[in-house]
């Protein structure tokens, strides 16, 4: 009798791509919950809009590319990109912001490069960077933490704010009187403190007390938990987050230690903004990162340094997107020069040329 021919190995670990993506999405949930708790419904609405629109884009573009959209939709990769983008965008951003961002992420940054696995740049970050450059006002207005507001916005109010730009009671979110609801992030504020000393700045901004970053720190910690879960599940290795956070810590320690009155403390750097979210969910995107363990260390460290440099001396208050994109550029190069020493070889090969 005849049997089918299958090449070895015949056993496979039951962990498919869609499970991997699904696990990462699950790991974002604590962070998303924290954001919702702290800043209202905005982030959740962003995620929902981005996901719905993103999956639609993914299906459409695959139809246009004459591929079967079903497997791609099912692998959860587009969903993950949209979730990450939704989280990265400011809460209560107008609806067209996530829509535009999703278009850029899914259609331009992912599918035009050949779809899953072929994109050299992190799609969510491409979208974020593009939005930040194109719509700086909308992209830098974060809702003040709910705790600072006398009354939080209800879900209905939030939807209204997102889709109409108006609050239910007639007020507008942006424009006159918006200060009541939105404010600069601590990093943004600190960046634009001008000639003020650090403690003067914190004092002068009663609405933004020094410990305001601790609010952000709660969200960051939630993302850290999610990241640790992924490490435990071995979805990725420790190399990129540790290298990135480590280099950022070293940089900020150096400068804070040298001049504490003009540089933000390491805690501000590590726990505010998107640092931890970026370290565990953005920089670890395997498609666009370096691959070998040694390469991942360089890749992560590079991001950490760039984040500090851009935050401190650049034009943008937060720098995860730009840093990650810049290191995405460098990833293939890093890969060639960080090959592991293979079993039975005396040393690792560097570069891609034949040794003489």
């Amino acid at each position: 009798m005849a049997f089918i021919r299958v090449s070895s190995p015949h056993l496979h670990r039951p962990l498919s791509t869609n499970k991997v993506m699904q696990t990462v999405i699950l790991a974002t949930l604590p962070g998303l919950a924290a954001l919702t708790l702290l800043f209202g419904w905005g982030s959740l609405i962003n995620v929902i809009i981005a996901s719905v629109v993103g999956l639609t884009f993914e299906a459409l573009i695959l139809k246009i590319r004459q591929r079967n959209p079903l497997p791609a939709i099912k692998d959860n990769s587009a969903l993950l990109t949209c979730v990450l983008l939704g989280i990265a965008l400011p809460p209560l951003a107008p609806w067209w912001l996530p829509v535009t961002g999703t278009f850029v992420a899914i259609v331009i940054a992912k599918q035009l490069y050949g779809g899953l696995g072929n994109n050299p740049f992190n799609p969510a970050m491409v979208a974020y960077a593009l939005l930040l450059i194109s719509f700086p006002v909308e992209m830098t207005q974060w809702v003040a933490p709910a705790a600072l507001l006398d009354h939080g916005l209800s879900l209905g109010q939030s939807f209204s704010a997102v889709f109409n730009g108006t609050l239910l009671n007639g007020g507008t979110l942006f424009g006159s009187g918006t200060d009541a609801f939105t404010m600069a992030t601590p990093l943004d504020g600190f960046k634009h403190k001008g000639a003020l000393m650090a403690d003067e700045y914190w004092q002068q901004n009663s609405a933004q007390p020094e410990n305001i970053w601790q609010t952000w720190a709660i969200a960051s910690t939630a993302f850290l938990l999610g990241g640790l879960y992924l490490l435990w599940k071995r979805i990725f290795t420790w190399h990129i987050p540790v290298a990135m956070l480590g280099s950022l810590l070293v940089m900020s320690l150096l400068f804070y230690g040298a001049d504490a009155s003009n540089y933000a403390s390491p805690m501000v750097h590590l726990f505010s903004g998107a640092t931890l979210f970026g370290a565990f969910f953005i920089a670890t995107d395997p498609v666009t990162a370096a691959t070998s363990n040694k390469g991942k260390l360089w890749f992560g460290a590079g991001i950490g340094v760039l984040v500090y440099v851009i935050r401190t001396w650049g034009n943008y208050p937060d720098a995860i997107a730009f840093s990650v994109l810049l290191m995405n550029f460098a990833a293939p190069f890093i890969d060639y020069y960080t090959q592991p020493r293979s079993f039975g070889h005396s040393k690792a090969r560097k570069g891609i040329k034949n040794e003489p």
């Binding site: 049997f3 090449s7 791509t17 395997p286 293979s342 070889h345 034949n354």
Partner: protein, 822 residues
């Protein structure tokens, strides 16, 4: 004891319990066995039996054919029913030569020759026993064990590792072997120790085999063998990985364990060694695990090699309807069989028949997301996803730079890949393509060398041809110059004595000359037709006769015209009014014409001669006699003409006036002589070369012939050199008419004579070798009649030798013929 860890590795479900619930049993004796001649790495064994032979169990039926090869023994007693191509268990599903034995049901063994005092036996005795038993590595690769055990001859070994890890899921053959025959295993290890003389001896076993560990511990109690329990992790049973775990040493890339002082043998191999040495039992059976949920009796069996797999499956209660595939080997590295009509071979450690719940069909491949899980799992510390990209893009050079060839194809990367990419298959593809490219590069290099050598040879031949042609042209130019030199003497005389009668006479002479030219052409045509007919073996004898008649007629006509011409000239001389120098010059002129004619005739005859020679060289036995006659005739003709030529050229020599421009002529002659000298030298060289060749072949007949040829050629060369020296001595004194005329004829006649001599010799050799060939063929026919294979073989060799000799002789003849200067 300190243990090391290796990078990566995976922990798939072991699934070993299913097949260890029942004790090891013997599989029923098969009714028929199919024994492939190659069940090992290396050269296939050479069969020693033929169809119809009766064999006993354990009888050697195919012998190791090379240093790396292994003996094959009959695994049952019975009759050899076939030796032919059969499908064999191989990943490619290929067929190979197999010996098929039909059982007589007796299982009648040959007398075994155990080594009773094996503890005190020397290495050679033990190695011979292992080699005789046809033992190969039974873990999977099947490398001949005797070869591996000889490793101490080149390397110092300090550690003997017995691989009892058995890390593949499902397989329990080694586990059961250790539980059942722990003492046998230890004996095998001791024999190996005796051979390798290591300072320590380690048995590496995974901690998932507690019963086997217990058995080994009690069996090794009074020995210096260490049982080392290692953590369960796939692929710790890989040779390189186990060595690293136990010793911390890494087998260098592309190297052998022996390079780091380690030799590694599998449990099954060690037991087979013990059986071979202590019982004298060759490798005719092995322990195979029958497992997978498509079988109802999952167990280990001791099975005779060559047993059809379907019989084993029946024995294990196999349900084909449930099976998703049939695997030989384990789930990680085993390969699927497309049929169950295949034999069990020396490396069949497991037959796995899983259900589709156990091993569902592979998921469709989805894009690589470079998650790096493969890299974390790779025990060779490669970058599997990079290798995958390179293999997919057919960037094989980059794949090699990323150490593709260090991949052991363990399958850990594919196992963890979330995109279900068949990574190992990609690597196999890349490896095969690279091997193919390397093969092709080698082939191209060989072809290039061959081409260059051929070009060099062609150039050399072309140069030789040009030299020969130049020589011929120079000779022709010299001849025409001589003729011209003679002609002015006639014309110089005529204006003085020109009269009407003479004018009329001259007109008649002219007419005659034209007629003569026509006759010459006719003769030439006839000659050509004749030679063509001679060449054409199909030409009918009638046709040939007609042609010959034509030829004769043409010749006669020519002769008649010549006579007339001569007569006319004589008459003219007599009628000459003035007894002027013309009296002398006129016949002289005619003589010159005759000379010219003769020379032309001679050239034509030479051409004919050459052609016949060529035909002779190519001819078959049937028309050879005829051709030889033609050849002889042509030769005779040439010598006749040359004689005439000699006489004719001697005539003008008497006339001193005819020598008009002696010095110019002299130079030409000198040139000719030089060319002749050069040609003969070349001939000598060639003959010498041929001699060297003959000597290298070691053929005495040939050597003698060549030596003779050299002597002739040398004589020729010397003669030519003498002539040249004489001429050079004469030249400065310019007008010596006698020497001129003499030298005009002699170099050519001399040369021709010598060449003829050489030719004759060559022909004699051809004839001799032909006779030898005929005799050899006759002997072969007799041998074939007597049906004695050895005699046939011997006679075939003799015929081959005679043939080469014959062709060699013919080539010499052809060479001589072509080197013949016209």
């Amino acid at each position: 004891m300190r243990l090391w860890d290796f990078h990566g590795g995976i922990h798939p479900e072991e699934n070993k319990q299913q097949s260890v619930q029942q004790a090891l049993v013997k599989a029923p004796l098969p009714k028929q066995v199919v024994l492939p001649l190659q069940q090992h790495i290396g050269a296939p064994a050479e069969p020693l039996v033929s169809v119809g032979d009766t064999v006993k169990t354990g009888q050697l039926i195919a012998q190791a054919d090379d240093f790396i090869s292994a003996n094959i023994h009959a695994s049952i007693s019975g009759t050899v029913t076939a030796i032919d191509e059969r499908p064999i268990p191989h990943a490619s599903g290929m067929s190979d030569l197999c010996i098929v034995i039909e059982s007589d049901g007796q299982d009648d063994w040959v007398k075994l020759e155990p080594i009773a005092d094996w503890q005190n036996a020397d290495s050679e005795t033990l190695l011979n026993a292992i080699a005789r038993a046809g033992i190969v590595g039974m873990g999977g690769a099947g490398f001949p064990t005797a070869v591996k055990a000889r490793i101490r001859e080149q390397h110092t070994i300090d550690t003997l590792v017995i691989n009892a890890a058995e890390c593949e899921p499902y397989i329990t053959a080694d586990d059961m072997a250790m539980r059942t025959y722990p003492e046998r295993l230890i004996q095998g290890v001791q024999i190996l120790s005796q051979l390798v003389k290591p300072s320590r001896c380690l048995i590496g076993i995974e901690d998932n085999k507690p019963e086997a560990i217990k058995a080994l511990h009690s069996a090794t109690k009074d020995t210096d063998i260490d049982v080392v329990v290692v953590p369960t992790k796939y692929p710790s049973g890989g040779e390189k990985q186990l060595i690293q775990i136990l010793t911390g040493r890494e087998v260098p890339s592309g190297g052998l364990p022996a390079d780091i002082g380690v030799i590694c043998q599998n449990v099954g191999t060690a037991i087979a060694i013990a059986k071979a040495v202590i019982l004298g039992e060759p490798l005719i059976s092995r322990i195979t695990t029958l497992t997978g949920n498509a079988m109802t009796r999952r167990q280990n069996v001791d099975v005779r090699l060559g047993t059809p797999i379907n019989e084993l499956l029946d024995f294990a209660g196999f349900n084909a309807a449930l099976a998703s595939r049939l695997i030989m080997g384990g789930p990680m590295m085993g390969f699927t069989l497309t049929s169950d009509r295949l034999p069990v071979v020396k490396t069949t450690n497991c037959l796995l028949a899983p259900t589709s719940q156990e091993f569902p069909d592979p998921e469709p491949e989805s894009p690589c997301i470079r998650c790096g899980m493969c890299e974390q799992a790779c025990p060779a510390e490669l970058l599997p996803q990079q290798l995958h990209w390179f293999a997919k893009a057919e960037e094989f050079e980059k794949a090699q730079l990323f150490n593709l060839f260090d991949c052991i194809e363990c399958g850990a990367c594919s196992y963890v890949c979330p995109s279900s990419i068949p990574l190992v298959q990609y690597y196999r593809f890349a490896k095969t393509e690279i091997h193919k490219e390397q093969e092709e590069a080698k082939k191209a290099e060989r072809a290039k060398i061959r081409f260059e050598q051929r070009q060099a040879r062609l150039e050399r031949e072309e140069a030789e041809k040009i030299a020969a042609r130049n020589a011929r042209m120079a000779a022709a130019a010299a001849k025409s110059a001589a003729a011209k030199a003679a002609a002015p003497a006639t014309s110089g005389a005529s204006p003085v004595t020109q009269g009407l009668a003479q004018g009329l006479d001259e007109a008649a002479a002219k007419k005659l000359k034209i007629q003569r030219a026509a006759a010459t052409v006719a003769l030439k045509k006839a000659e050509k037709a004749l030679t063509e007919a001679a060449l054409d073996s199909n030409a009918s004898p009638d046709n040939k006769a007609i042609l010959e008649a034509n030829h004769k007629a043409a010749q006669e006509k020519l002769a008649a015209i010549d006579q007339q011409l001569n007569g006319g000239a004589q008459a003219k001389t007599q009628a000459g009014a003035n007894p002027q120098p013309a009296v002398a010059t006129n016949p002289n002129g005619l003589d010159d014409a005759a000379l010219k004619k003769l020379k032309i005739q001679r050239a034509a005859a030479s051409v004919a001669l050459k052609k016949t020679e060529k035909a002779l060289a190519e001819a078959t036995d049937e028309n050879r006699v005829q051709l030889e006659a033609t050849f002889k005739a042509a030769q005779d003709k040439v010598s006749d003409i040359e004689q005439q030529l000699g006489i004719a050229s001697a005539q003008p020599a008497s006339n001193e006036q005819s020598v008009a421009a002696p010095s110019a002529d002299q130079e030409k002659i000198l040139k000719q002589a030089k060319i002749a000298a050069a040609a003969s030298k070349a001939a000598m060289k060639k003959a010498e070369k041929a001699l060297v060749h003959a000597q290298s072949i070691g053929d005495t007949d040939e050597i003698a012939a060549k030596e003779a040829a050299i002597v002739t050629a040398k004589a020729n060369a010397e003669k030519a050199a003498d002539k040249l020296a004489a001429l050079q001595g004469v030249t400065p004194k310019a007008p010596a008419a006698a020497s001129h005329s003499a030298s005009d004829a002699t170099p050519e006649t001399d040369l021709a004579a010598k060449q003829e001599k050489a030719l004759k010799q060559a022909k004699i050799i051809v004839a001799a070798t032909r006779t030898a060939l005929k005799k050899a063929k006759k002997a072969l026919a007799e041998a074939q009649d007597s049906k004695d294979p050895e005699a046939i073989k011997a006679q075939q060799a003799v015929v081959e030798r005679c043939k080469t000799k014959f062709t060699g002789a013919e080539q010499t003849l052809a060479q001589l013929t072509s080197s013949d200067v016209c």
